[in-house]
Structures are given as C-alpha cells and as structure tokens.
C-alpha cells in the first residue's frame, strides 16, 4: 500500500513536470558511437545551426558501442522524449528501419546523414559527398604518389558499415579504367576499433611484402595504420592514406607516414543535417526532385531515393594540414 502511495505521488509530480510544453524545436543528432572526433566535429556544426536558427535545441547522442542494437535503444529513448526530428548516422541500414518507422508513425521527422538508412526508414538521406567520387578519390590519393603503380590494400571499418562498403565498391569500379597499374590485393575490416585496426594493418604488412599503400576510409583505421607504419619504420615504403580527421592525423602527415588524406567537412555535415531536419519540421516535404535549403552550405536536390549529396571530398596534405587541424 505504501508503495502504491509513493508511486501515485511520483506520478502526480511527474505529470506536473510534464505539463509545460517545450516551445523549442528539438532535433536529435544521433551518431554511430560517441567519442569519435568526426562526430564531435559534426556536433559542432549542428550547434552552430541551432544557434543560427534560434528556436532549435540540438540533442547530441549515440551509443558507446557502434552496434545497431545499442543505437535502437537510443532511438527508443528519443521517441519517448517526443523530439521533433531525428538525424541519424546509422550503424546498420536495415536493422534501424523498424524503430525509425515507429518514430515516423509517432510524428517524428527522420533523416539519415553520413551512413544511411534504407529509404523506407527515413524521409531523406544526406550523403557527405558522392559515393562514386569518394571511391575514386581514395584510390587517387594512393595513385598520385605511386607513379609506377603497385599493390594497395583497404583497411575498412565494420564489414556492415554502409558507407564504407559503397565507397569500396566504387573504388573497385574505378580502378580498371582510371588507375590500371594499381593492384588492390585485399580488403580487411578493423571495426573502427583501434586495437583491431592495428592488428589488421600489421597483418596486411606481413601478408603482402610488396604493399605500397594502405587505404583506410575511416578515421580510426587510418590513424591505426599510420601508427603501425611509423612503429615498424616503414615510412617512405608504405604510404598510408584514406579519409582522416586533420587534427587526429596531422602528426602522420608531418612525419611522412602519409602524403595526403581527404575528408569532407564534418562541421558542415552536422550543420546541414540539422538544417534539413529543421526544414522538414517547418513543413517542407521530402520528395524526389525537391530542393531543400542547408543554410550557408547551400541547397541539396533529392534524387529518386530521396537522397542528396552535400559536397566533394577535400584533400589535406603538407600545405594545408596545419590550418585544418586547428578546425577539427
């Protein structure tokens, strides 16, 4: 009985607390996992967008382990909080669909960015860049410093990561026509885990003695690979390249383990994701051919699957790494 009374009292208080409605638009920026420099930079852009819009609050959240199951728990708690929009970079394109459909059924706008969700699980998807262009760029980064060609290998994130897999497919497609003397010998998966990525990089170097470059299209893998090359005194022999966050990677451009890496601007990506989510909350419709505003970044036009590309990847080398490493 006493327990019931306590519960009743708690309920009453909670209802009172719930009463004042929030005038603000709340947009949740859900990332693959917290503690990743890339996503922290995206959050910086998201907060910038929120400040610019004025009446928007950005909730930056994500699981500790980069798994679909953990991300579903995060989305469930956001549904319970009745946020206005969810902008998610998904750990799995399919597994998140049912829970995101549930979110949409309860009136929440859902967009995906960076790593996408299958079309039935979101209203629109914002690609940081064009898949074909990224695939080509990561091979070009290696090929530019291999005039005579040679063996290269790819160190990816999880074998289930949507974006990485798409880029690798595009890279494979670009090799025969544009980089005929580049020989892709292997694709391995470091799961965006420093230890596993390090082991996989060591494995590549041991298995392929003629390896000229390791291409890691992930910010965790590229640092691990560059550290392995540095530790094993292979600077000048194996060039590490891929997609890297300048602030995390600057030391490896400086010491020569890497000639150049590329990335889009995650600040712009987080900024654009919040702008697009806000467009939908304000009543704009996401449909093929629609053009939506991304504030200072420009406009995006949606294709048949309601996805659009933000901008082309940007190359960092000795000439500009200093400047960009201070930004993100």
């Amino acid at each position: 009985m006493k327990l019931l009374k306590i519960l009743a009292a708690t309920t009453a208080v909670a209802v009172l607390l719930a009463a004042p409605a929030y005038a603000q638009t709340r947009i949740a920026l859900v990332v693959k996992s917290l503690g990743n420099g890339f996503f922290d930079a995206a959050n910086k852009g998201a907060q910038e967008a929120a400040a610019e819009l004025g009446d928007v609050e950005v909730i930056y959240t994500g699981p500790t382990a980069a798994t679909a199951e953990a991300q579903i728990e995060v989305v469930n708690s956001l549904i319970a909080q009745q946020v206005d929009a969810i902008a998610i970079s998904a750990n799995d394109p399919d597994a998140l669909v049912p829970v995101l459909q549930k979110a949409m059924e309860r009136g929440i706008k859902v967009i995906s960015w960076d790593s996408g969700v299958a079309p039935e699980g979101r209203q629109l998807h914002l690609n940081p860049s064009d898949i074909g262009l990224i695939g080509e760029t990561i091979i070009k980064l290696a090929a530019d410093y291999l005039p005579e060609g040679g063996d290269v290998a790819i160190l990816s994130a999880a074998s289930t990561a949507t974006n990485q897999n798409a880029w690798i497919e595009a890279a494979k497609a670009a090799i025969p026509a544009k980089f005929p003397n580049i020989n892709l010998v292997s694709v391995v998966y470091g799961d965006d885990d420093s230890v596993k990525s390090t082991d996989e990089a060591k494995g590549l170097i041991a298995s392929y003695p003629d390896l000229k470059a390791i291409i890691a299209p992930t910010t965790v893998g590229v640092v691990a690979a560059a550290q392995v090359v540095t530790d094993q005194n292979l600077i000048g022999k194996v060039n590490v390249t891929g997609l890297a966050l300048p602030s995390e990677f600057k030391q490896f451009i400086d010491n020569g383990a890497s000639q150049a890496v590329a990335l889009w601007n995650p600040i712009d990506l987080g900024y654009s994701a919040v702008m697009l989510a806000n467009d939908l909350v304000k009543g704009e419709e996401a449909k093929p051919g629609a053009t939506l505003s991304m504030g200072r970044v420009g406009e995006v036009t949606l294709d048949d699957t309601n996805s659009g590309a933000m901008a082309a990847p940007f190359q960092f080398d000795k000439s500009n790494i200093e400047e960009f490493s201070k930004i993100y």
Binding site: T10, A18, A65, N76, Q81, S159
Partner: protein, 330 residues
C-alpha cells in the same frame, strides 16, 4: 544432527519472514523501486504507457537468455556462446527465407538451431568432459564464424510481416508479444527451478557434483539438458531480435553474452554455482532496463551508462558481503 523419525525438521533455521526481508530479492526490489522513482522525477517522459512499453524492449531478449543461463550457472557451468548462437540462428533463418520459407518454418529453424547449438555445447562439456568456459569460448567463435562465412558483409532482409510481429507486435494495447513471452518463460523457469525435482538436482550439482552423483543424480544428463535449454532460449531470442530488426547481419547481438551474464549475477546467482533464484534474475533484468532507459531519457552518454551499470553491479554484490562481515565482526 538428531535423527528422530517423528520430529519435524525445518527446511531452514532462520525465521522465514526475517530471511525474506533480508534477502537479495528484497534488496533488488528496493533498488528497482528507487530507480523507478528517480526516473519519474528526473524525466517528464518516463511515466507514459508507451515509454514504459518501449523500455521493455531494452531487456526482454537478453533476459530470456538470462533465465536459462541462471540455471546453467547455478549448476556450475557457463555458456559464453549464447550471442553467437543468436547470430547463427538468425543467419540460418535468413538463409531459409531466401528459399521462400514462411513464418512457422522460420521460427522452427531459429529455435531448432538454438537447440542444436546448445546440444553441441552440452555434448562437448558432458560427453568429452571439457570445461564449459573453454568449450563455449570456442563455439562462440565457431557459431559466429559460420554466420560470417555465409553472410560476409551482406545482410538478409525481407522477413514477412507475420514474422516481424514476434519482435514488433503487441498482444494487447502496450503489452508487447516479447514481454508476454518473457513473463511466461519466467514463470516456467520459476516452476522448473523452484518447484520440481529437476530444479533441486540443479542446486545439488552446483553445490557439489560429486556428492550429487553419489546420491543418484545423473549429473551429465542434467547438465546436457541445461545446455540445450540455454540454446533453446538463445534460439527464441534470435527469433525475437531478428523480427525486431527485420534483418540479419553476422554482427547481430554482439556482446550480449556478457549482458545476459551480468543480469544473472546481479540477480544474486552465485557465479560459483549452487545458489540463486529466478525472481532475482527477473528483477535484475528489470533494473538493467530501468537504468539504461532512464539514463537514455536524460541523454546520458552510453559510456556513463556502462560505468553506472558496473558501479551498480559492484554495489549490489558488495553490500550483502559487507553486511555479513560487519555482523560477524560484532
């Protein structure tokens, strides 16, 4: 021990009421109520029928495994391959789906795979007399490895709506099928452990399997059945999780073995075997769900959540031990 034939011998020497109040389960009830109240005060969104319903999805599948795992740990064994069994069962269901299997067949394959994997573990442990921790570390890699071979970086999807109902459907209003299944399973395991001869044998084996053997308990057979049961529950969890995700990838349910074992230990089951209750495990599952969901509502980062669960585990385990030490010192 006096051995007068007509004298009533009590089951226990403590006063039953006093021991019930001081029991682990009452402590867990207190913790659960405390967290419930804190949650209600700290987030305006917590006390909502749909929120509470969504909350249950955070633990039902893992808790189903924890029920069987509890019996296994009480008997002095362990199964670390449960999450890998989910991966393999889910992969085989997806594989069958490609050949047009419908819902009843999919469910049968999921549960059948679970039982087969459990029986394989049980055979290695009881037939070949290998330590269960070693066997199941091995089968953990084996089962998930097979999934990776079949799927690589691909996924199976397109499960029928009637199948999705198992993981997303509601029996009545906000009461999900998963929650009902968990309640039924908890009841079945309660009866099995606390109200049958089989349950008494599980305790006897966990306390002293040599003595149990000399008392006529078929130790190996009981342990084999327990491994099959754990496999069965993992297969069931695989059906629910696959239905909830609507897709299969080889990385499905990664790390769940530790979460299931955490529930069992938090529920007061002795990791050394021989002691523990189903009620404790059910309460522990509820507490883990309440904590993760409550912190999620406050948008607390996941790493803080892990720290919180770890601290909770240590506190709940340390409290009774400290209490006993204090009392014995007096």
């Amino acid at each position: 021990m006096t051995d007068t034939p007509h004298r009533h011998l009590p089951d226990r020497l403590d006063n039953p009421l006093k021991s019930a109040i001081l029991s682990w389960e009452s402590l867990l009830v207190l913790v659960a109520v405390a967290i419930f109240i804190v949650n209600s005060f700290s987030s305006p969104y917590f006390l909502n029928a749909w929120s509470l319903s969504d909350l249950t999805f955070n633990f039902t599948e893992k808790a189903l495994i924890a029920l069987a795992m509890a019996l296994l740990i009480i008997s002095g064994e362990i199964d670390l391959s449960v999450a890998a069994i989910i991966a393999l069962a889910s992969t085989l269901m997806g594989f069958a789906l490609q050949y047009g299997a419908d819902t009843p067949v999919l469910v049968a394959i999921g549960i059948g795979t679970g039982i087969a994997c459990g029986a394989f573990n049980g055979f290695l442990v009881t037939g070949l007399k290998l330590p269960s921790i070693v066997v199941t570390i091995g089968t953990m890699s084996l089962f998930r490895g097979i999934s990776f071979i079949i799927l690589g970086d691909q996924s199976f999807k397109g499960y029928p709506a009637s199948f999705a109902w198992f993981g997303q459907g509601y029996v009545f209003w906000v009461i999900s099928f998963e929650l009902v299944l968990f309640a039924v399973a908890a009841l079945v395991f309660y009866v099995l452990l606390h109200r049958t001869n089989f349950g008494r044998r599980v305790y006897a084996i966990g306390n002293n399997d040599v003595a149990a053997k000399f008392s006529g308990v078929r130790v190996e057979r009981v342990k084999f059945i327990l491994f099959c049961l754990t496999g069965l529950m993992s297969g069931m969890a695989a059906v629910l999780l696959t239905a909830r995700l609507g897709s299969t990838r080889p990385s499905i349910a990664e790390g769940w073995e530790l979460e299931a074992i955490t529930m069992v230990v938090l529920g007061g089951v002795s990791i050394l075997g021989g002691a523990g209750t189903i009620i404790g495990v059910v309460l522990a599952a509820l507490i883990m769900g309440l904590v993760t969901f409550g912190l999620g509502l406050l948008n607390v980062p996941g790493i803080v959540m892990s720290i919180f669960i770890g601290a909770l585990l240590i506190i709940v385990i340390a409290l009774p031990i400290l209490y006993r030490q204090l009392r014995s010192r007096r």
